[in-house]
Symmetry: C3
Subunit: 259 residues, 3 copies
């Protein structure tokens, strides 16, 4: 038996009669597509995935508030990924292996999410955002367009855990960068073009265009003053001045526009 073929549903996959697949959709071996799923044209679902996973109420009462799960066209969902009913993913979505996307996640176009990242639901991810591996995006988080979130970053939401009187999602504004292993405390906002250094604990808002580092994080200057470590670039931030790979025309500010 063929192990994989682009443009076809593998015979071992289970696709609900209540799911809607566009043209030229691929579904890998041993994947499960539940009721209420809509998948756009030319999208690839890898093997061992679950799309349209029911929410917790289903296991408790046999039904689920959320009824639909929408995945855009031209997307690539890699193996062992779980996407819940109640999630909405825009066109051109691409993710690594074993990603979890829960109900109420609203994801723009051209977004990439790395292996084992966990989107806890009731959150929004803007167009062309790049989330690397193992990021944990808590409920009520806002991640705007063209941001970068690196491995093991956690966006928290509970100011005094455990509680349920008031959850406060954190926000990452357009073009901001959060480096590996950092934690954003509940309700903090990382401003446009700001940079959070690796392993920082961000306890206060980060103004636009500033660098913060440390635990707790403190201001470390303007992003424009970050010096290139290998001397080949005049300046490295704002990053759209030196890195534009993978973005369509017009999505990033023109080089020099923000510096």
């Amino acid at each position: 038996m063929q192990t994989f073929e682009l443009g076809s549903v593998h015979p071992s996959a289970l696709v609900s009669a209540e799911a809607t697949l566009g043209s030229n959709v691929t579904v890998g071996a041993f994947s499960v597509i539940h009721d209420g799923v809509e998948i756009g044209d030319d999208t690839v679902i890898g093997s061992h995935c679950v799309v349209g996973e029911p929410t917790a109420e289903f296991y408790a009462h046999g039904d689920s508030e959320a009824t639909k799960c929408t995945i855009g066209a031209r997307s690539v969902i890699r193996s062992h990924t779980v996407i819940y009913r109640g999630a909405t993913l825009g066109d051109g979505f691409e993710c690594g292996h074993r990603v979890t996307i829960r109900e109420g996640s609203v994801i723009g176009i051209g977004v990439r999410v790395g292996t084992q990242s966990d989107l806890q639901g009731d959150l929004s991810i803007g167009d062309y955002a790049r989330l690397h591996s193992n990021v944990h995006i808590g409920r009520l988080s806002v991640v705007e367009a063209c941001t970068w979130i690196f491995p093991f970053v956690v966006m928290t939401n509970d100011p005094h855990p455990p509680s349920d009187t008031c959850t406060m999602g954190a926000s990452v504004r357009r073009f901001a960068v959060v480096a590996t292993n950092s934690v954003l405390m509940p309700g903090v906002e990382v401003g446009e073009h700001a940079l959070v250094g690796a392993m920082s604990l961000v306890t206060r808002d980060v103004p636009a265009g500033r660098v913060v580092v440390g635990s707790p994080a403190h201001d470390a200057g303007a992003v424009a003053d970050v010096v290139c470590k290998h001397g080949r670039l005049d300046h490295v931030y704002p990053w759209p001045d030196q890195f534009r790979r993978g973005y369509p025309e017009g999505v990033l500010p023109p080089p020099g526009a923000t510096s």
Copy 2:
């Protein structure tokens, strides 16, 4: 073919003739239930799970010291989870996706464990403990009843890795809270109702009812003095004074009893 149906074993699942399933048990598509597994009534096993995974000796010599894997009644085990032979899970257990629970894990009743958490075995988790996503509980750890462990917390056990002369598990006492990305060093004890702040490195015991923060962690006052960040609550710790969702009557101390 149906993609999922509560109360039935999916035709694509593999269930050993040497496994014992209670009444009204659900087993999802493409799951494997090995020999020696006992599953209580009304429990749901999601898709792509492995229950009764053999221990390392099996791959080396073809047999395994551990012979049984027990899962209580009314539990929900989500997709892609692996539970080893030699693990014992109490009634009302609930977990996220891709959880790993190894041999010698003894888990009480009403416990919840989040997506991708890794319980390394030879450890105990008390009743109604709440472990969030991606926690890593090393061998010989003790997590008592009604505790909270947040994402990416690591409980270590080797005082000078690598070694095997003496492993020292860490402990988290009743009602204690360990916030996201913290590390408990080998042998440390987090006392009852204590609070470990986010991204703390806990190198010494934390007395009952105290807050610690930082790397290495230092004392930051009594939990009763933590001020509510949004002003809607008189006090936030001990947390059972303001949060009781999901606990049966009598499990938590009455409000005000410990403050």
Copy 3:
């Protein structure tokens, strides 16, 4: 139906006619072995694995630069693991569940990799290296022989993310130890027999035989001066003086040789 049998390919597994399996190879239920995979004698592939996963170009253009995926003899690959075409794994490899190994990963003999670790490709791992759970090894990293990398360690490679003008992999030299939750910044080198304490942010090279701790990491003495925490050992580092389990004769320096 049998749920697992050593030495045989489970009837539910999909094995490409273009894959080559040695003698006495086990393939677990619901695993997929794609074209171009070569698996050595006596190796066990667990259930729900994907071996020979195509690289990103395949999803974009239907073909893949990398054509082969080689796994040595006497290896154990646990369930839900994904190994890409273009990866080369030596004999006696052993890994936990849900490991990801991407194209261009060159892995020596006798290596162990823990559950959910993510090897991002274009990197090398030396003989008998031990990577624990959830480690993240960025592209261009070099992990030499007989090293130890503990849970949630991240080896980064981009000096000013996002960029693509110059990636700088980090290196861990022979016998070095990197403790849990530490981050190695781009291009740093951890010297032979050095020790990086838990939750350290390593921003500069660590000389051979030194201990560093903190964020950013600072020197904390010679490894030979680390005092045994439970008093049963005269000295604990260099670790081959007190720990030799699992290494063949001649691989580690004789006790006392380096201290």
